[in-house]
Amino acid sequence: MSAAVELSKLRFAYRPGHDVIAIDALSIARGETVFLHGPSGSGKTTLLGLLAGVLRASAGQVKVLGQDFTTMSNGARDAFRARHLGYVFQMFNLIPYLSVRENILLPIRLESERRARLGGLSFDAAVRDVAGQLDIARYLDTPIGELSVGQQQRVAAARALIGSPEVVIADEPTSALDTDRREQFLELLFRSCEKANATLVFVSHDHTLMPLFSRIVELAEINTAAKVTRAPSTDGAT
């Protein structure tokens, strides 16, 4: 079985000649929970964009679940992301005019393969299942605007996890939560990932969360491009 994520000789630049990402090798095994951290501007979000197949590498390879993104068309990467990845953002995760239920259902509505992975479960049952795990089953019909930030973040996690994606990518999902809620949220997230047997790539600069993860990756250490262009003193500025 191939690794969940495998990077080799990866280079990425928004403008030619100004590399933001330069990673020679990184491999994440399936089922791992990875804490990816680094100072602001070290290229965390860019790296996540590459892992999610939203950005295309300038050079080198990005393999997710054995598929090489660099050889895939934009459309193929979109389809792959819809099928195999779950994505949780820092903020503004949800479509405000849809209910909690509809937000969670979006991925399986958009992608038939993800739908197929419900294994005969009805939509409603699938939503209740994942919402139950994240402790938001009560809010399924509440308007998004009436939820707290923590509840919204859990809805976003539920949406990322529905239909059992192999890889879950979370981009600073706890930055808007207070400390108590952070750990609570992470616990729920871990449990759900474990149940779905998903690999979790979690980006944060909040070092207090580090001990909860099975593996820690310091981006500044492996990203040679960032060292050149960024001063480490900006750490924690956000």
């Binding site: 979000t45 990845l85 994505y87 820092q90 479509i95 405000p96 005019y97 849809l98 981009d171």
Partner: protein, 502 residues
């Protein structure tokens, strides 16, 4: 697809105000476009509908527009006059159903005085099938009676019974007043929004009487004879031959004859010598071409007494001049043939015009107004489509984050494109619908005020080709503008759409 539709609707509903404003801006643009087109068509139709029901207008030899302008619009002068007997001659033509004399040259306080027959009121049509009707009174029958148009009545505050003095020539000052032959208003016409509203109508005999001033006023008998002759000519002019109208005419004649001449046409100051020598131009002079044989006998034959009067009239006024005459044909298609025949009349040089054709020609000439409207419409199209695009674009731009979320969840480029294009198309469609509804609603409400105020009848009519072109343009550009933010949303990385910095 269902999902996209639901998303689109939910999203539009969630932004009610923006949606409403965008739709309103599109609707107003569409209203402007369709409205301008409606006004343009309305102006044109109002113009083209100035005169209807008349197949030919015949005047002295001159330009087509001259004949049209001088008769229908009362602008400028006719190139000359036509002999009354020429009209009577053409009346015998088998293709001719009726003729109406039209005599100009006098005025009343700036309004044109038209000498005509009773058939005029019956035959004249404006707009689609508008007939002349009276707000008060009836047609002018006796030579002292006048009918006034709506504007005349309004401006001069005249009603039935008001005495009227006609001026020779078109200006009030310095020309002779026919004070010796006063008229009295017997009828006020309903508003038509045509030059008719600004005219004063008298009988041909009225004009003769005031110009003749006592020519045949030697005795009461002569005065009666004049009125009799007038009546008979009226009868002759509408030889529609249907017995019903004939009997109406007879009744009119009798009534006309019976009306007591309050201020007698010819009072004392008679000049009997001026009367044309009797006998010369007896009935239908030799100038007439071989008369078209199988004619229904004109009504005058039926009544010998009137016949004599008729003869006397011919005798009296064989050389009478009129400005023009209107012709109705039995068959529309004969109008062209008849026009050619009249234009090549060997006895008197005539110009016969087909009003519709001449109006079209005139519209071509003064069409710069229309070109102006078209240019305005074009600018309106440009501005309103630009405005609409800005509104659509900014409402879609505001949703980049939403698009980024959808994209991250797995919506492909086609989904995003379909969503945004569907939304913008939906907005454009709604805008078109409401815009057109606004035009019709507004028209229904403003139709009569506009008609009252500007004299333009804006018809509630089906959308024309131009309107559909406008609507298609709005729809297509609305559809296309959805592509731009869709493309941008797709190109924009998640970083842009999702991090709080963005």
């Amino acid at each position: 697809m269902m999902l996209i539709l639901r998303l689109a609707f939910a999203s539009l509903r969630s932004r009610k105000l923006t949606t409403a404003l965008t739709v309103a801006s599109i609707a107003l643009s569409v209203t402007l476009l369709v409205g301008i087109e409606t006004v343009r068509a309305g102006v044109r139709d109002s113009f083209a509908g100035t005169i209807r029901g008349v197949d030919l207008i015949v005047g002295a030899r001159g330009g087509t527009l001259q004949v049209l302008l001088s008769t229908v619009f009362g602008i400028g002068n006719a190139s000359g006059s036509v002999q009354l007997r020429t009209m009577e001659r053409w009346q015998q033509h088998p293709a001719v159903k009726w003729v109406v004399p039209y005599s100009l040259g006098d005025s009343h306080r700036g309004f044109r005085v038209v000498g005509t027959s009773t058939a005029f009121y019956e035959r004249y049509r404006f707009r689609k099938d508008g007939r002349l009707s009276f707000t008060a009174g009836r047609v002018a029958q006796a030579d002292s009676e006048v009918v006034i148009g709506w504007d005349v009545a309004e401006r001069l505050k005249y009603t039935v019974g008001t005495p009227v003095v006609v001026t020779h020539g078109l200006r009030d000052i310095g020309t002779s007043n026919h004070e010796a032959h006063p008229f009295r208003v017997v009828g006020v016409l309903q508003r038509t929004f045509t030059p008719i509203d600004r005219s004063v109508y008298v009988t041909l005999e009225g004009i003769e009487a005031m110009h003749g001033e006592g020519e045949y006023g030697a005795s009461g008998g002569a005065a009666k004879g004049a009125s009799e002759s007038g009546a008979s000519r009226q009868g002759a002019t509408s030889k529609s031959a249907s017995s019903k109208s004939a009997s109406v005419i007879e009744a009119n004649k009798r009534r006309a004859a019976a009306i007591p001449k309050a201020p007698p046409a010819g009072v004392p100051m008679a000049m009997p010598g001026a009367e044309p020598p009797p006998g010369t131009p007896m009935v239908m002079p030799g100038a007439e071409p071989p008369p078209p044989a199988p004619q229904a006998p004109p009504p005058r034959v039926a009544e010998p007494a009137v016949d004599t009067a008729k003869a006397e009239a011919e005798h009296d006024h064989g050389d009478d001049q009129i400005t023009a005459f209107f012709v109705g044909t039995k068959n529309r298609f004969e109008a062209l043939m008849l026009q050619r025949e009249m234009n090549t009349d060997l006895v008197e040089p005539l110009t016969a015009i087909i009003p519709g054709v001449a109006l079209g020609e005139l519209w071509q000439n003064i069409g710069s107004a229309e070109v102006g409207l078209r240019v305005i419409a074009m600018f309106a199209v440009l501005i309103s489509i630009t405005g609409m695009l800005v509104a659509l674009y900014s409402s879609l731009e505001a949703r980049r984050r939403e698009m980024a979320i959808l994209r991250a969840i797995g919506a492909g480029p086609r989904t995003i494109l379909a969503l945004l294009v569907l939304e913008s198309t939906l907005l454009a469609f709604l805008g078109c619908l409401i815009g057109v509804a606004l035009v019709y609603g507004g028209l229904a409400l403003a139709q009569s005020p506009i008609e009252q105020r500007f004299g333009i009848h804006l018809a509630l009519r089906a959308l024309g080709e131009t309107e559909y072109t406008y609507l298609a343009l709005v729809m297509i550009s609305g559809m296309l503008i959805g592509i731009v933010p869709a493309w941008k949303a797709y190109r924009t990385s998640l970083v842009d759409g999702l991090s709080p910095r963005a």
